[in-house]
């Protein structure tokens, strides 16, 4: 029962990812894309745990999610660093 519930939750979450993806693909500026990607990332970590629960092997998936949570923001930081170094938003 709970499995089914979690499965629907997961599908719903992936639907939400689609919404964020819309922003990530069409977002007018790069920073909007960045927000979209970040949102996708935070949902991914949750989805990983959900999948682990559905598999009944959450002890195996939790490491992945942990690593994910740790590393997810490196990319975001890196991308934001791009602008901190006095490079413009549009073009060079």
């Amino acid at each position: 029962m709970m499995d089914r519930f979690f499965l629907y939750c997961a599908i719903y979450l992936s639907f939400l990812m689609l919404l964020s993806l819309y922003r990530a693909i069409l977002g007018p500026t790069v920073l909007d894309r960045l927000i979209g990607a970040n949102a996708i990332g935070s949902k991914t970590a949750v989805l990983l745990i959900l999948i682990g629960l559905i598999y009944h092997r959450v002890d195996m998936f939790v490491d992945i999610a942990l690593a994910y949570a740790m590393l997810n923001f490196i990319a975001v930081l890196a991308a934001s660093r791009y602008f901190q170094k006095r490079k413009g938003l549009f073009g060079e």
């Binding site: 979450l13 920073l31 970040n38 949750v46 939790v62 975001v76 991308a79 934001s80 602008f83 938003l89």
Partner: protein, 110 residues
């Protein structure tokens, strides 16, 4: 259907609502700075509720191992709480340095 399951379901639904809000906010808010708000707050909150619920659910069959797993899930929450605001801060900083001006009412959506 014991009490824990219900609690878990409620928390998960809460988390989903947060996430929905976040997603809709990211989608619908007019400009970059306002979109940061749902991205920063609602997603973090959603993660908190969802992960908390899952940690709780995991504890149902209590053992040392499941406790460890639950602690790890909580650790993820901690990490999300630490890293998500930092990331958002970085993005805001980038936006400011890139010279993006905030949206004011009446302007076209961006």
């Amino acid at each position: 259907m014991d009490i824990v399951d219900i609690a878990v379901a409620v928390m998960v639904v809460c988390g989903l609502i947060f996430f929905t809000g976040g997603a809709v906010g990211i989608l619908r808010f007019p400009d970059f700075y306002s979109r940061l708000h749902p991205a920063g707050k609602l997603d973090t909150g959603g993660s908190f509720f969802m992960l908390g619920a899952l940690a709780l659910f995991n504890l149902e069959a209590f053992s040392l191992q499941t406790l460890l797993v639950s602690l790890k899930i909580l650790l993820i929450v901690v990490f999300v709480f630490l890293s998500s605001p930092t990331a958002i801060h970085g993005i805001v900083d980038a936006g400011v340095r890139a010279g993006l001006s905030p949206w004011t009412k009446g302007e076209k959506r961006r």
